[in-house]
């Protein structure tokens, strides 16, 4: 039976075959890479350039027949002088800082415990990882039930430990508690992700280093600070980078849980941006808003990757 590759080669028309035989390795490589580059340009770079262009206009996507006026930097000026957007940035900062701190602390602790060899280790890992497998919309939905003042389990657990009346407080209805409600739900959902990254870091540390430390009579505490933490640090930093970028863009979980309320207290930047773009239909204005967020995330990611490389070089 003829080899299918040979058969296909024989079936190639002679002029085409001659052309292919005459191509250099570099050209063939470019032929393979070109579709991906084209796709990247079409899907990533073109929309980015188009957004930057729109940010200098008063374009509204729901009024395509209106004249598009070049407004220069007016959109940027209005955004950067708007106290509502300023408070949205503060809500995002609160969410970002607390979710990262809690997820790293709890995630690393869980990874440290799971890394110890004990019976049922794999079962516990699966149970802990479970929240991460759910859709953010589902998580948002059932946390709204957990936070219900009358029937919510969360209120009853808090009441059990504090003695307060379960129906005396509402996590998603109170302006002081709502920012924490979204932090808790996100931490519950994404701590397993941080735990998995930390676990990979902890498992990459060779046992021989700990054995050498034991021979030098180093205490467990000293081993933790001089071996475990420095060697797991690149993984921890990677987890912070991933969660930082993801939480800066957080949308679905918070929309489902609080819808940005009460008032605007949990309106994060991505929720506000969506409202400007697809509820108020201020396309030019929202493009400028998106560019500001993009530059911020890009800048942060750049310095973070630099720091990560430095840690890896050590």
């Amino acid at each position: 039976m003829a080899n299918p590759v040979t058969a296909a080669a024989k079936a190639t028309p002679e002029p085409v075959a001659q052309k292919i035989r005459g191509l250099s390795d570099r050209t063939i490589a470019w032929i393979f890479v070109a579709p991906t580059i084209f796709l990247l340009l079409a899907v990533n770079i073109f929309p980015l350039i188009w957004t930057i262009r729109l940010s200098f206009t008063n374009y509204r996507v729901n009024r395509p027949n209106n004249d598009v006026e070049w407004v220069g930097l007016r959109n940027y000026e209005r955004i950067l002088n708007d106290p509502d957007i300023w408070s949205t940035m503060q809500a995002t900062a609160h969410f970002l800082i607390w979710t990262i701190v809690l997820q790293v602390l709890i995630g690393f602790t869980l990874a440290y415990l799971i890394n110890k060899k004990f019976k049922g280790n794999d079962l516990w890992t699966t149970i802990i990882v479970f929240p991460m497998m759910l859709s953010p919309a589902v998580v948002g939905n059932f946390w709204t039930f957990l936070y219900q003042p009358q029937i919510g389990l969360f209120n009853y657990v808090v009441a059990f430990f504090t003695g307060a009346d379960p129906s005396s407080f509402s996590m998603i209805g109170d302006v002081n508690l709502a920012p924490w409600a979204i932090v808790i739900a996100d931490t519950w959902m994404w701590t397993p992700f941080v735990m998995l990254i930390c676990l990979a870091g902890l498992r990459s540390i060779p046992d021989s280093i700990y054995e050498a430390a034991e021979c030098d009579r180093a205490s467990k505490w000293r081993q933790f600070w001089t071996i475990t933490i420095p060697m797991a640090l690149p993984f921890l930093m990677l987890a912070v980078l991933f969660r930082g970028i993801e939480n800066f863009k957080m949308f679905d979980l918070v929309v489902q849980l609080t819808g940005g309320g009460p008032g605007n207290i949990t309106t994060l930047t991505s929720i506000d941006l969506k409202r400007e773009a697809f509820e108020k239909w201020r396309t030019g204005y929202s493009s400028a808003y998106a560019v500001i967020l993009f530059v911020t995330v890009f800048g942060l990611a750049a310095i973070y990757v630099k720091a990560l490389n430095k840690v890896k070089e050590r």
């Binding site: 940027y76 950067l80 002088n81 503060q90 800048g299 750049a302």
Partner: protein, 62 residues
Amino acid sequence: MSAFIIGLLRLRRGPWEMLASILIALGVVMLMQPFLLGLFTYSFIVTLIGTVMFIIVSHFPE
């Protein structure tokens, strides 16, 4: 400190990247701080200068 300034004058990557990183971090802090609206207003330009500087100076020699 003097090594840092000499590095800047000789267009070396390390000190320039450090300066760009400081500008980016400062811009982000200005963007998210809850104290002065004026700082928020100028946060974007600081972050933008830092980010563009970072992209350019990452091509400087070590």
